[in-house]
């Protein structure tokens, strides 16, 4: 029975199937919001309101011819999409959905799981870099170096911003942090700066406008994924979708009070809160223009990092006052 439960957990909810369905739904939501903000229709044709468009895109890509460049490092080139998808899907398991109860620690909810989650969310960036580098295309290589350059900008502010609510909650477990803030909703207010910083850093991590520099199509064509096609590209796109779900889930769990109550209630809260976060991300995407990679690093260190430090200070002072 325990084995069956684990398999269900891995494959159905909140494992691969759920992540696939919800990831494609989030892509649809993002595309629709972005399109409506730009006075366009967005997807309308496939499924009701175009709901199935990302799924259709995925299966269409799966059926396309898969080309590997002659000069590319073939094993690495082939392995990267699979590893990338596996990494973000594993990160998805750490969402406190199935097991939202702070008292029941276990294999997927333990002290320090927030660190593991942040680590797993860093890996796709490295995978994108390796993907760009191994395809030996000049545009991919420029994209790859841009991925890494950006990583040095946003990663530190993101970590500081995400970890400061954890310091206030005095726990490294996502489920416990959520429960702490659900019990004291007013304490969410001091974390507003951190919320904004984390939102912008997640936008950079997901390589969306204004941080879509590694695959800026008017500059370097497809960027990191220029040489990828067919199944491999489909995997990478699914990886990005799931990364969107996991990162917005992380922000919702840390800054918006997490997901509590029974599993069904937790699920409903998860949907509402992640969609709210994705709405904000789409808003940023529609309202800004792409910036240069040197501007990203300067912005991250001159604005985001000091703000994150300020957030940390606020949290430490409040923690002192509460005692």
């Amino acid at each position: 029975m325990a084995v069956l439960k684990t398999i269900l957990y891995l494959l159905v909810y909140p494992g691969l199937l759920f992540l696939f369905v919800y990831g494609t739904f989030c892509e649809w939501f993002d595309r629709k919001v972005y399109a409506r903000l730009q006075n366009r229709m967005g997807p309308t044709h496939t499924g009701r309101w175009g709901l199935l468009q990302p799924v259709a895109d995925f299966f269409k890509l799966m059926a396309k011819e898969d080309i590997v460049p002659d000069a590319a490092d073939k094993p690495l080139f082939t392995l990267l999409p699979i590893v990338g998808l596996a990494v973000v899907a594993t990160a998805g398991l750490l969402m406190p959905l199935w097991n939202p109860f702070p008292e029941a620690a276990g294999l997927i909810s333990f002290q320090g799981d927030i660190i593991v989650l942040l680590y797993l969310l860093s890996l796709p960036t490295l995978i994108a870099f390796l993907a760009g580098w191994s395809s030996t295309n000049i545009f991919s290589q420029i994209g790859g170096t841009r991925v890494l350059t950006m990583l040095f900008g946003y990663e530190v502010p993101l970590f500081m911003a995400v970890l400061s609510p954890a310091i206030l909650a005095n726990s490294w477990r996502i489920a416990e942090i959520g429960a702490f803030y659900r019990a004291r909703p007013l304490l969410l207010l001091p974390n507003v700066i951190g919320f904004v910083v984390a939102l912008i850093c997640v936008q950079a991590k997901l390589e969306r406008t204004p941080f879509d520099i590694p695959h800026a199509e008017t500059e370097i064509v497809g960027g990191t994924f220029t040489e990828y096609s067919g199944k491999k590209l489909a995997f990478f796109r699914l990886m990005t979708d799931i990364e969107l779900v996991v990162s917005s889930g992380l922000i919702a769990a840390i800054f918006l009070g997490g997901f509590g109550g029974s599993p069904i209630l937790a699920f409903l809260q998860f949907v509402v809160k992640t969609l709210a976060v994705i709405f904000l991300l789409s808003l940023i995407r529609a309202l800004t223009s792409r910036i240069r990679v040197d501007q990203v690093v300067a912005f991250a260190w001159k604005t985001m990092a000091p703000l994150a430090v300020l957030q940390l200070l606020i949290v430490i002072i409040i923690k002192g006052l509460l005692k």
Partner: protein, 400 residues
Amino acid sequence: MKFNIPIGPQHPALKEPISLRMTVEGEVIRDADLRLGYNHRGMEKLAEEKNWTQNIYLVERICGICSHSHATCYVQGVEKLMEIEPPKRGLYIRYLVSELERVHSHLLWLGVAGHEAGFDSFFMYTWRDREVVMDLLEMISGNRVHYAMNTLGGVRRDLDEIQIKKILDGLVVLRQRTEYYFKIGASEPTFVGRLAGVGYLSKEKAIALCACGPTARASGITADVRKDDPQAVYDEVPFDVCTADSCDVLGRTVVRIKELMESYKICEFLLRNLPAGDIAVKAPKKAKPNEVVSRYEAPRGENIHYIRSNGTERPERLKVRAPTLANYPATIEMLKNGFIADIPLIFAAIDPCICCAERTVELVNARSGEETVVRFGDLRKLAGERFAKSPVKRNAVWPF
């Protein structure tokens, strides 16, 4: 480490084929090279085979955006050769269409600039509002792209009261929208951050490299054919030449938005003061042997047509110098020491119309680098031989 990146002939930033070869060091461009000739259509030669009237429709097809500019420039010259004077009403309508075309071209450019800078919302908004002026042009001429309004000695279609009212209403909408874009272009921090200081071209360099149009005006040069050498109606119309002194892509954006506002002013003046009378006079079939240079301020800069007649129904020579060609040397200067990320912006900022500027083609042997002159028949024979010798290509395999 220096390496070359090829932008084009096929690249998402380019709407038409051209080859930009960049030598870059890290993210910084050290050298740039421009190769033309991918879109040569032999229009000048073709013009010698057609008569004066047929050529109006040929030169109109030099460009898909400033189609009216080339046709007007040509018609102006031929009218001078034939010594005919179009009626006032015809001229007013001709230059009204010119200004509306400038509006649609600049709105299109704003969208393209937004897209190249990764600001797709701006792109969608400007192109939505461009539909307003496209609809007006369609109402006036019956066409959205090649208006075919010009004829030798005037224009082909008249305006009535209802149309005039509709155009004036449309201009009100466009003016409001343009003010909004001016606000966005000058205040949205990420957008301004991308444009300011990019593609610097000093006033001295702009003069030395013969830049023209908004590119020159953004470097502080007050050069506008409409003011310097007013054709037909422009000496009667009150308007200002818009300049900026920031010498960068932001300046070029500001100049274009200001020019939009001036164009609305000119359109309103032309419509309010539209004289009564005929719209065209009959033109003769032949022109006396003579030559003429016709200048016209196209949306992208100064357009020059040189026309020589030999007393027959056909021109002996028609030479077209599109504004884009004049701006290429300045583009190379602007690209140097810029970032890779700025290539599309700098290149788009001259508003390139690549096929307008394709006047010649050079045949270079790819292996030896030898340049040759080949007759068209020989070229065709060569292609046939090469095809016959080449191995059969493997068909793409469907994955299932």
